[in-house]
Amino acid sequence: ESADPQQTAFALRKAWTLYSVTPLHRFRRSRLSDYARLLSAFIAAEKQKGLAVEVGVELDIKVALSSLAELRGSELDQAALLVQLSSRSRASSKNSEDKLVWSGWFCSMFGDELSENVPENFTCLPLFLTHGAESYTSLVGSWFQKTFDCCFRRLAISPLNLSWMVAMWAGYKLERAASAVELVFSMPCLSQPLDISYAIHPEDAKALWDTVQKTPGEITQGEVDVFMDCLYAHFHRHFKIHLSAAKLVKVSTGIASAHCDGIVKILHSQYLPGVLMLLTELAISQIQ
């Protein structure tokens, strides 16, 4: 089940901003090069109008659309769709390489819950991940909205979901020395804002999770709660502070990291499908 590392390498070690997307109407996989051309023209036109805000050197934006057959969960999932914007400075010579300035990809990892229930002519790719300037995200999003009658929304991640992620990821086994399991809390409503970073040695975090999780391969809300309560209790014992009253804003492990503003970084190809499945689920909840 592990995807071709070549196909998935682009997804790793980058901070992706997350969106949920409603199903695309009349999207044809066979017309990718047409779409690329149309999107390219759209971007050029918007720049003429002065709406794209890249100051400085004049850039021509080249658009590439590709299908990633490997990036999907079940047969019901659509293959992922990758959009890449590259620039070539007009000033430089013809031989200079294109520079990748923005990438975004649509994805569905075990999104059966959604795809089972849409009419024909609709393509379900509920998760959209972007990396690059906000101005480009805006342009690409506008074009897709106009062309396929879909709707994008930023995907925030609640503290509840963040705690699922950290519990789950803390339990994964990593061969080499991994980075700490870190939880970042924010306490904004004080006279002065306070941030607390609580980082646990990965072996110790995993040892704790292993005693909490009763059935391998299965996680319950109760187990996540116990895990978090243990961490809160250990902290309270030392500092007399109720972390449960603070806002969990970011979690970070050797597998992946996630921020409540809907920003995710995945570090291991082995766990990419698992993380994408979780995010697909969140995206679908937001759509419905």
Partner: protein
């Protein structure tokens, strides 16, 4: 004038906010008032810096003057740098008379005996602070003026404040030169770091209002507490709790403004203890954690935790001890259980 000196002066001026350049040049005193009058401070900074360099050229500025200008900038913008605190120890009991000229001579001699390529500059300020700027080179290279170290020393105290940005290998030499010059025999780094130099001074010189253990506050008879927050919806029970928290906070933090620190870091190597009903981890090994608190004004935010309901009162001594233990880096191990023989 040396081209590298000219460039260094130009870059130093560029760092300054436009509306402060005139003031800093005046403090510097190297350019005459007449020369300063010729400068147009309303043009872009790039042009101002070039004009300043031209005037310095007329006066034949050398690296000593350039370094003096850099000290002035860094004294005003001291909070842009991270400062560490060191404490020196004397072998004898007597407080010898401090001779600043002797101090400077011994300091320079000690550094130069190990490394010829250095630029050493001193400046004394009204509050008895001696600022030392050291630009470091190697046996084969001229000093790098862009990464100097700054040392602040109050001669009546054993404390040294250092802002490094230098090769770690030069730190021992710097420390050695300081103890030789000031007639101490040892120096150790304290676990105390901050951007706010004044707050570090407040902490080690004990200039903030602390709680004095001998002072027993009068028990507050309702109605005396925080009148500006008098909320008629708070009933007597909650009112008493608020008073209790307020009193404990005062005892822990004192009633005056807190020294300004930005972070505190705790390396925990204590055992994990699960709650009574939890069937979880029961290892014999420590549960290793690293906890870091950050805030624009850490002690004020910690002080507001209990009143906000986010923490118990009294707050943990691990947090309240920061100012009087003069540290913000801690390593916490499990207390060894003492055996009571039957």
């Amino acid at each position: 004038m040396d081209a590298t000196v000219a460039e260094y002066i130009r870059r130093t001026v560029l760092k300054m906010p436009k509306d402060e350049i005139k003031m800093m040049l005046q403090k510097w005193g190297f350019l005459s008032e007449a020369q300063l009058q010729t400068l147009n401070f309303h043009q872009i900074k790039d042009n101002i810096s070039h004009e300043v360099v031209q005037l310095c050229e007329e006066n034949s500025a050398d690296i000593k003057q350039a370094a003096a200008l850099d000290i002035i900038y860094n004294h005003i913008y001291q909070n842009k740098r991270m400062w560490s605190v060191y404490q020196m120890k004397k072998s004898g009991e007597e407080d010898e008379y401090f001779d600043i000229a002797d101090f400077k001579k011994k300091f320079k001699r000690r550094i130069r005996s190990a490394l010829k390529n250095v630029t050493i500059t001193f400046k004394e300020y009204e509050d008895n602070a001696i600022w030392i700027r050291v630009a470091w080179g190697t046996p084969y290279k001229k000093p790098n003026q862009y990464k100097p170290s700054y040392v602040v020393y109050h001669s009546q105290t054993p404390f040294i404040f250092i802002s490094a940005s230098m090769l770690k290998s030069n730190l021992p030499l710097l420390c050695q030169a300081l103890i030789v010059a000031s007639n101490y025999h040892d120096i150790r780094e304290m676990e105390l770091r901050s951007h706010s130099l004044n707050s570090l001074k407040d902490i080690v010189f004990k200039r903030y209002s602390q709680n004095f253990e001998t002072y027993t506050p009068k028990p507050l008879q309702g109605g005396n507490v925080e009148p500006e927050n008098a909320d008629i919806r708070i009933i007597h029970e909650n009112g008493r709790e608020k008073e209790r928290i307020h009193r404990l906070n005062q005892e822990a933090f004192g009633s005056g403004p807190q020294p300004q620190l930005e972070f505190a870091q705790y390396k925990l190597e204590t055992m994990f203890k699960s709650g009574p009903k939890m069937d979880v981890l029961d290892k014999k090994e420590p549960f290793r954690c690293l906890v870091k608190f950050s805030s624009p004004h850490l002690l004020e935010s910690l002080k507001s935790l209990a009143p906000a309901g986010m923490a118990d009162a009294p707050l943990s001594p691990l947090l309240t001890c920061i100012p009087h233990k003069a540290r913000n880096y801690f390593k916490i191990r499990e207390k060894k259980k003492s055996f009571v023989s039957p």
